[in-house]
Every structure is written in C-alpha cells, then in structure tokens.
Symmetry: C2
Subunit: 366 residues, 2 copies
C-alpha cells in the first residue's frame, strides 16, 4: 500500500530522548517499510527513517528556539498532506483531532491513532461532532471516556523485537522507575515501595518544566534515602542495560494510563512489571505471568516479595507473542485494508508471496 504516516513535529521520529508518540510512529514506519509497503513519513526534518521523509518542518519544535507558535507548523503540515492526499491509499495521523475537519471532507481513507488520555471534558462535544471519523485506541480502557467516537480498532503499541542473544544474562539487583517526574507517574510511591522492601531503586526520569515544583518539593528531599539513585533522562542506548538489570519495573501510576510503552520495553528484556491497576495496566500485564497488578503501595510491596515466582524467559516470550512492532504493523495494515478495501488485491505494487501471506494473516487476525 501507499501509506502516509503523519507524526507530531514536537520531537524527531524517532525522538532523541523522551517522546512516546514519535517513537511508536518510528517503529511502525520501519516495520511497514520492512513489510514492503511504500511509506511516506511526514515529520520534522531531523527525523531518521527508511521511508520517504517529507520534512514538514526543518527540525523538531522542542529543539527550535525560534518557534513561539507550535500550531503553525502543524497546520502547514496538514495542508501539505491534504494537497498530496490522492497519492496515497491511506493516511495515518498521529495528531489527535486536528485533521478531522479537513480530512473528513476528502476521499482518501484516513485514520487517527489517539495517543493521549481521552477523559478531558473538552473532548466530549468535539467527538460528538465527529462521530463518523475513524479512530484507533491504544487500549480498550482508553476508549471508555469517549463512547461516541468511531473506534475501528484497538492497536496496542509494539517495540522492535531485537535479539537478546548477544547480551549476557543480566544480574538483576534493583527496582527500576522510568518515566516523567510527575505526580501521576508516582516516583514518590516507587521510592517508598523500594525502601520498604530494602531493595535499591534506580530512577531514570526527565523533569519537565511543568513538574519542576513537584520535583523540588516532593522528590528531591526523598533522593537522600539510602539505596535511591536518580540517573536523569536516558535515551534508547541506555535503556537495555537499565531495564535488563532490574528485578522489576515499578509503575505506581495514579492516572488512566492510555498504554504505557515502558511496560512492554521492560517485558522485551524479560523484566516483569509491578503496576497499579489503572487504565491499560490489565491489558498489558498478565498478573502472575509478566508481572503483578496491584491496587496500592502495600500490595506493591507484597508483590516484590513474589517476584521469585516469575520466569524472565516467560516474560520475554509473552512480549514476543503480543507486543512486537511487527505485530503492531500487521494490526494497522488490517485496519488500513478495512478502511480501503479496494487496495486489498495488491496489484498496485510489486510484492512477493511472503507479503501477500502476511496481509492475509493480518486480515484474519483483525
């Protein structure tokens, strides 16, 4: 298929450091290319991709000090996509509701993955007005707030499979916290849980401007606790060592997590996850198999003592079965084909039998 991926411009695709949406778009784009599709990626010019890159803005907005109005570059990109729309079989947006008004009035099939939380009150009337626009949720829990929206699929995220064979078996010595330094992510709870268990905690987290007050008032005083180590924001290169050295990842979240990419990243390294039962948690983690789903701090502390029961190989195996980027790409292909069924015969582009097989399989699993 001729597929357009339209990413946010805030971060490069993939992002240099933090940036969940742009990273998922990167994984998806690379897999679609690997599957033989003709993909154009609309993204910032510092993106790196094996697809055709349409640089909708020279560099990612977060790194561009001249940018005051981050909406203008996105509006320009939407217009550029609109003008080229007929060159694609399907348009896949990752820009919330921004494309709805313009693209619901043209003929090329389009779909939008909703990457954020959907329980904001201002989204209610907006989605009342756009009931017929096809959208994809990243968990079933995420959908609950917007029953009026036209969800055509839930496509859980995936990350690249990558062989683990080259790495030595990890010595797992600490609990890990990885994410934004925000109250809803619960770094304070993670510190209390680790201290109660007497196990060291390593915190890899970025501090956003919006969270600086919280960090200074709540977290910084707790960093003096014995066994608590703050290692700052880490990139993709440092994640494997960080995650594979942990006995478990702690996710003491207090918000409706739409997906929680870090959970499957931990699983990809055989690392189980202890997660509060919020949002997507029970759709991602299988209690007693790939981690533990708990209701509060006390239960999380109890869960840590049960980590011995879990098998790291089984955690990795479930990751391979459920959360690879390849599986995500196949799910999306099935979604595209459902929206653009006339593209199914695959006559438009050369393709080997393996790709036809994949598409057939995708179709079956949709």
């Amino acid at each position: 298929m001729r597929i357009a991926q339209i990413a946010p411009l805030h971060e490069a695709v993939p992002p240099k450091l933090y940036g969940g949406t742009e990273r998922v778009v990167s994984y998806l784009t690379e897999e679609l290319v690997a599957l033989g599709h003709q993909v154009t990626l609309f993204a910032s010019g510092d993106s790196v991709t094996s697809a055709r890159l349409h640089a909708a803005w020279p560099r990612s907005l977060r790194l561009d000090p001249n940018i005051r109005d981050v909406i203008a570059p996105h509006m320009l990109m939407l217009e550029e996509v609109r003008r080229q729309a007929e060159e694609f079989d399907v348009l896949h947006f990752h820009l919330d509701y921004w494309p709805f008004s313009t693209f619901s009035r043209q003929q090329v099939p389009f779909v939008t993955t909703l990457h954020g939380r959907l329980d904001l009150p201002e989204l209610q009337s907006l989605f009342n007005a756009f009931r017929s626009v096809p959208v994809v949720s990243i968990s079933n829990a995420q959908r609950l707030a917007l029953p009026q929206a036209r969800f055509v699929a839930t496509v859980p995220h995936g990350v690249p499979e990558r062989s683990l064979a080259s790495r030595p078996p990890a010595t797992r010595t600490y609990l890990a916290f990885l994410g934004r330094m925000a109250p809803e992510k619960g770094p304070d709870r993670a510190i209390r849980i680790a201290r109660a268990c007497g196990i060291p905690l390593k915190i890899a987290a970025k501090v956003d401007k919006a969270d600086q007050l919280y960090f200074d008032a709540v977290i910084r005083p707790m960093l003096d606790s014995p066994g608590v180590e703050m290692i700052g924001e880490i990139g993709e290169r440092d994640k494997p060592a960080f995650l594979s050295g942990a006995v478990a990842l702690l996710m003491p979240i207090e918000w409706p997590e739409p997906f929680g990419l870090v959970m499957i990243e931990a699983m990809s390294h055989g690392t189980p996850v202890i997660v509060f039962n919020r949002g997507s948690a029970p759709e991602v983690i299988e209690d007693g198999l790939t981690g533990f789903i708990v209701e509060d701090e006390a239960a999380a502390i109890a869960a840590v003592t049960g980590l011995d029961q879990l098998d790291h190989g089984a955690v990795r195996a479930r990751f391979e079965q459920r959360f690879t980027a390849r599986r995500m790409a196949e799910d999306y292909l099935a979604t595209y084909l459902a929206l653009a069924p006339d593209k199914r015969p695959l006559t438009r582009h050369r393709c080997g039998s393996s790709r036809a097989h994949i598409l057939e399989r995708t179709r079956g699993s949709a």
Copy 2:
C-alpha cells in the same frame, strides 16, 4: 448581508476586562447589526450581543478552570461554522490562520482579520502555502513581514463614537499608561519619562503570568517613585475617567505594534498620545495634531513639554473622522462585498433605503 463573525473563545465578546480582539469583534458586530445586517456571532456563551449568538463553548476559556486543551473548542467551532457555512453570504474569522485549510476548500466567501504580530518566522512558510487566502491587516506596517499573503484590505480598528456631551470637561492632571505589564509595552520607560517631566503617572495594567518575573524584578521597585501610582487592571467602565483625566497617554513601545487600540480610545476622549515610532504608530497618530511620534525617551520627554500646543477638541474630531466603529464596519462591508459581489443587489433581505445608501457609500470608499 448574512454575516458570520467568528471570534476567539478565550474571552467573552466583549471581554469582561482585557482582550483586544474580542472587543473589536464586539464593536464590529454591534455596528453591523445597527446597519441592518443579519449577523451571527460565533463566540463563547458568556458573550453579550445584539446579533444572533452561536455559543460555540459555554463560557470563555480563560475563566473555565476545567479546560486544559484550548484548541479543542476552537476546532469544534470551526467545524460548526463549516456545517452552517451555506447559510451565510460571508464568513469573517478572527482566528489567525486556523480556518485556512478547511475553508479554502468550500464556496462561501471568507476573510480573516489578522490581529497579531506577523513577524514570527513560523508564519513565513505557512503563508507561502496559503497565498490565495484573503486576509485583512489592521495596519499597513503589520503587513510588511508577510508580503506573500493576499491582503485584500487594511481596516484600522474603530471604537464606538459615544457622545462626550454628558461628561464635564476633564481636568487633566497626569500622564497615563494603559496596557499589559510587559517589557515591549514599556511601563519602565513610561515611569522614567513621567519622572523626568515631574508629572504624576497613573498605570492601569494587568500582569500576565508570563510577565510576573518582569513585573517583580523591574517595575515593582520603580513604583515607590514619587508621583507613580499603579491602579491595576481596569474595565470598560473605568476607562473614560482614566483616559479623559490624562494630559496624554504614553506608549513607549518597543515592538511592532500591529494596531494599538488604546491609542484611539485615548483620542476618543480628546487625549493626545505620545508614542514611539514603531509598528502602526504613524498610521494612527498624526504628529503635532493628535499627539507626538518620537524615537526614544529623550524625545518623549521633550514632547510632553509640547502638549500645550495640541487641541483636545481637534484630537476628538480626528477620532470621529478616522477611528469610529461605524467607519470600521463600513470598511469591512466594502471588503465583504468585494469578496461576494453577487450579494450587492440586496434583494435577499428586506432593507430600507438608508441601508442601501450606506452600502453604496461604503462601496465608493473602498
């Protein structure tokens, strides 16, 4: 004509306190109704208008603590306008470039007044992409940054004429500063100018969150100076007394002011304006007649000593000739008719001869 006015949702129309764009939309809407047109105002539900109000959001966003995403309500409003577009002869947007992509692909004539500064680098490529979309500037100076845009008119702002007869002649005893407490507006320069002249200064200004640091560090220490009085943010009710009691309004601006509504408000009270030669200043103030245009603080101080030469009655007269809301409405009507020339015969709606006359006159002055 059947006219849609589409206002920002940040403030009510008119705003309760500060909010230039929404206030201008209010003046324009009321005048168009008074001229016999059928006007629908798309605005927040706490707006007050004699037009038909389409409440695109229950209340103005600045006063709604539940709103996190201010873009969603605007996107919803744009969609609602799009669905009703055929019910209007012309659509008049006050939402920057936001309507361009959707409305350049439908048939009803539309025009956008650009209320802000246009010299942001991110606007260049955006307006390269939308060269054919008709826009209105509020001064000729404002246009300079975007020569590629399709400016169909410059329509200077206007404010209601209102009789001055009922007010006693003002005793003018101080210099006035009215606006945002921001470095580019120059409250620090105003204080130095007033002190050098030995004339009291009254400051009516709001302090935005973004300007709090500047206020605390630069302005607050200067407020102890003798003769300097800070009276806070004032509403429409307090403005006449504030402006008509001043010997002059000080506008020591250091930015490309797109228009500067407060200048014509001062003029409407016969109050001259001493303004730095930036942006729209020489298009609004006539040097030696309605005020003085100066290059720096030293020249502003010299200008204060020349205020005796100016005649308050002449200042008011020039206001009546050039900057009433009625004149603004007539300018816009001429613009609408140029975009929708088939609406000229006025057969669609009942109208008396006076309205036909007005339209004819507008046509001549366009």
